[in-house]
Amino acid sequence: MMTFTLWDIVRNLLLGGALTLLLSMVAFVLGGLAALALLFARIAKHRPPRGLAQIYIEIFQGTPLLLQLFTLFFGLSLLGLDVPAWLAAGVGLMLFSSAYLAEIWRGCVESVPRGQWEAGASLALTYREQMRHVILPQAMRMAIAPTVGFAVQVVKGTAVTSIIGFAELTKTGSMIANATYQPFLVYGLVAIGYFLLCYPLSWYAQRLERRLYATRTN
């Protein structure tokens, strides 16, 4: 029987961890770009883009991530499209992130007081100019902390992609656990891996929140 040293286990987990990190970043960055487009549709003056964006957001917020991944992975292959696990995982998480980020950012834009829009309008700025020079700079400041906070959710969300066979941290862990018969050790290490990825992010989010809160209260 083959034996595994602790280093063998850790080495493989590090590889899985790297894929988790990569998947998180891709999903977060591409999801963020898609969210920006969604955001502008969601707060548009005209009804059709607003409605479409809302339907999109409701669908992705109202169904489990797991089912979204199943649908992408198995559903598309039923239609004859062979989707590799990494692609389904990346696209699935990206769509999921975009819906949530768009809603978070919309909240930030809408929390800028109406008087700011009116002040911009009274100075003859157009809607676009009000948005760009008055509203977005303020909304972005408010968005930083919750956005970083959501990044933590994305990192943990990548664990779900193990179910369609993408060999990120959790999937790697379960394979190793099956081979070594040491599930407690392996899953313990997996948990530590997620913690090491997430803790710096939530620490940073908290710090930002404190700092921004402090500047807003004086």
Partner: protein, 242 residues
């Protein structure tokens, strides 16, 4: 020809008919104070004058630029009409100077250097040239309101609208703002203000407009009106103030 003229202005909020055919004429250099109880439509009228409220019927004309219900070039109108708000509405992410510089640069394509010159001189007009780099949250309410006035002046408007600009201020800060307004009036600025400062309206205003239930109920020379109210509603209104 009057600088500002509204013709049969109507506005509804749902079933609520808040402006019922307002005909208002303001000559260049005139200082008009609009008074009335809350809900009489005075703020709505002021906000309609620079397109912050859409109008349902009638026309607004400012220095030859017309705004017709449902349609109109707001940008052209708003360049002629400045507005100062009760809550100041300064941009909190910009310094006092940048607040004043923003609109000339964007709307009028003024260069940054030129915008800064304008900003420094308008801030000097309100006595705040030394606060150019201060952010709004570092200024008192009275100073913020004066920056807001400078911001409106930087666009060289034909008429300045003031919407209860001292109502959100602590009593000891009201005077510094009123002094700036008084200064503007003496320099010949056309002012239309909604105010609760009756003494100020009486001293500085050339014309008093009393609004009642969505109509201009009584208007004219402030001294005469206060001495001899023509309608029982206005008499009632001023006696309720003391």
């Amino acid at each position: 020809m009057p600088l500002v003229r509204t013709n049969r202005l109507h506005k509804h909020f749902g079933k609520n008919h808040v402006l019922k055919g307002i005909n208002l004429e303001v000559e260049e250099g005139e200082v008009v104070a609009i008074v009335g109880r809350s809900g009489s439509g005075k703020s709505t009228l002021l906000r309609a004058l620079n397109g912050l409220e859409t109008i349902d019927d009638g026309t607004i004309e400012v220095d030859g630029t017309a705004l017709v219900a449902e349609q109109g070039d707001l940008r052209a109108l708003r360049q002629k009409v400045g507005m100062v708000f009760q809550q100041f509405n300064l941009f909190p992410h910009l310094s006092a100077g940048q607040n004043v510089m923003l609109a000339p640069q964007i709307v009028k394509d003024t260069s940054k250097e030129e915008a800064e010159v304008i900003a420094r001189s308008t801030l000097a007009r309100v006595g705040l040239e030394h606060k150019f780099d201060a952010f709004p949250d570092q200024l008192s309410g009275g100073q913020q309101q004066r920056v807001a006035i400078a911001r409106a002046l930087a666009m060289s408007p034909k008429v300045l609208l003031c919407d209860e600009i001292t109502s959100a201020l602590d009593p000891e800060l009201v005077n510094e703002v009123l002094m700036v307004v008084r200064q503007l009036a003496s320099e010949g600025m056309t002012l239309i203000m909604v105010t609760h400062e009756m003494r100020f309206a009486r001293e500085v205003g050339n014309k008093l407009v009393f609004m009642y239930e969505g109509r201009i109920h009584e208007s004219g020379d402030p001294q005469t009106m206060f001495a001899n109210p023509a309608t029982p509603e206005f008499a009632n209104f001023i006696s309720s103030l003391d």
